[in-house]
């Protein structure tokens, strides 16, 4: 389930928009989360997913899950290794918090690299200093209690309309969050790196020739071949 550090480093250098195109091209949509934005602007987040699923609250179920240190949210956060990203299915409830400064302390202590949810974060001003990149549906002073309650750690979830499995790659920047299924992580970054180079080359041509971008974009197989020739490939 771990992703090589060398792969993480490569992803950190590219844009989520290009990663989106790559995942789409391979047929793995939906992959871009709706209603989830960056609350730590300027930060790029790349890391393997751990997951947590919330459900609407109910007394009989909470009697089994509210068990202190071993409650599902602490199992999920406790499973994070340094660099992991916790992805939380908050049922898209934009005003309900999945945690605040006390609970999320555990993510800071585990040295997670980020937190992603389609619900809200509480005490954001404090949590933003925990060394995590944060992507959420909103910020709120409320708790989650009336609408959502933590239920299950490290299962397949949805978040922002995207299916997420533990071990998938989370790639997020100011444009939002893209999920790269574990089975295509290397194929995607290979395509993305070359594609970003091709695009830079195309932009130079467009400016030099002063033409409408449609002349070179999107790049055809022939255009890509031309690009590779310039590298002496």
């Amino acid at each position: 389930m771990s992703i090589q550090e060398s792969v993480i480093i490569r992803y950190k250098k590219v844009a989520s928009a290009t990663v989106y195109s790559a995942v789409r091209r391979l047929g793995y949509e939906p992959c871009f989360m709706r209603g989830v934005e960056s609350f730590t602007p300027g930060l790029t987040l790349v890391g393997p997913a751990k997951t947590l699923r919330f459900v609407p609250p109910r007394k009989d179920i909470m009697e089994k899950t509210h068990i202190g240190e071993k409650s599902p949210e602490y199992i999920a956060m406790g499973s994070c290794e340094p660099g992991d990203v916790l992805v939380v299915d908050g049922l898209g409830k934009k005003y309900a918090a999945i945690g605040g400064d006390v609970k999320l302390l555990q993510l800071k202590m585990r040295k997670a690299s980020g937190l992603v949810t389609d619900a809200s974060i509480r005490d954001l001003d404090i949590v933003a200093d925990y060394g995590l990149a944060i992507f959420a549906g909103g910020r709120t002073p409320m708790g989650g209690a009336d609408e959502i309650d933590p239920f299950e750690a490290n299962v397949t979830i949805q978040c922002g309309g995207v299916a997420v499995r533990p071990g998938d790659l989370v790639m997020a920047d100011d444009d939002g969050v893209v999920i790269v299924p574990e089975c295509i992580i290397e194929e995607v970054i290979d395509w993305v790196e070359e594609h970003e180079e091709v695009e830079e080359w195309i932009k130079t041509l467009i400016e030099k020739e002063n033409v409408a971008p449609g002349k070179y974009y999107p790049p055809t197989e022939e255009t890509i071949r031309q690009y590779r020739k310039t590298l002496g490939k």
Binding site: L91, T156, I157, V162, A163
Partner: protein, 235 residues
């Protein structure tokens, strides 16, 4: 111990609105009324509302690798879920509140008909509605559609804990439905709730008679004090 057929028969005779009040009265079990879901089949008498034990199916957004792993013919999650239903069971399908997403149509839902399931409830949509209505299953959904579900939702897990219409549903819970909608009664309070609901209905009948006879505003009798006085449970 699963909820008995006798208890389900009692539920079919009381209004879902009264069952809602009963669950609310207990505290800690709301939300229990499913949002955005309407009846597609209707009662013919006061005794044939939908009441059944929940079986569940969780859908997730589609993804090519997950589809490969789960589409395994007869043992796909939707067939495991529907296959686990029998008489007195209600299939509850979690479509993540995607009102327009199809959770099945005339071919897939044949299985519920063959299993003699009591009903189907979903916060998604049903496809081929005019072919499914004659199956004899009570139907409650957010809508109906001509589209297939594959672009929007993918069946993933049978008989786990789900949400539907914003309510948590656990297999074995009692699911009741009439023209006012669907309420979830957690299994562990199902007997307490039907006792309270039956008593409440007989008190309400007395209250309505008094109001009509005296020609007064309902507030004269529709209050906790009168309920307490007329209830058989507090005696």
């Amino acid at each position: 111990m699963a909820i008995s057929d006798e208890v389900l028969a009692r539920y079919r005779k009381v209004a879902v609105a009264t069952v809602y009040s009963a669950v609310r009265e207990l505290g800690g079990y709301e939300p229990c009324f499913m949002r955005g879901i309407k009846a597609y089949t209707h009662q013919e008498s006061g005794e044939d509302r939908m009441a059944g034990r929940a079986k569940t199916l969780r859908f997730i957004p589609p993804r090519a690798d997950i589809k490969r792993d789960t589409q395994v013919g007869e043992q796909s999650p939707e067939y495991v879920a529907m296959g686990s239903c029998g008489p007195g069971d209600v299939a509850v399908f979690d479509a993540m509140g995607r009102n327009e997403a199809s959770i099945g149509g005339d071919v897939k839902l044949i299985q519920l008909k063959n299993q003699d399931a009591e009903g189907l409830v979903t916060d998604g949509s049903i496809r081929d509605i005019n072919a499914v209505l004659p199956y004899g299953i009570k139907l409650f959904a957010a809508g109906n559609t001509a589209r297939v579900g594959e672009p929007d939702v993918w069946p993933y897990e049978a008989n786990g804990v789900i949400q539907c219409g914003g309510v948590t549903v656990k297999p074995g819970d009692v699911i009741v439905g009439d023209d006012d909608g669907v309420v979830v009664v957690p299994e562990r309070v199902a007997e307490e709730v039907i006792d309270w609901a039956e008593d409440h209905e007989q008190v309400e009948e007395q209250i309505k008679d008094l109001i009509e006879k005296e020609g007064v505003a309902p507030g004269k009798y529709y209050n906790p004090k009168t309920f307490s006085k007329l209830s058989n449970l507090t005696k």
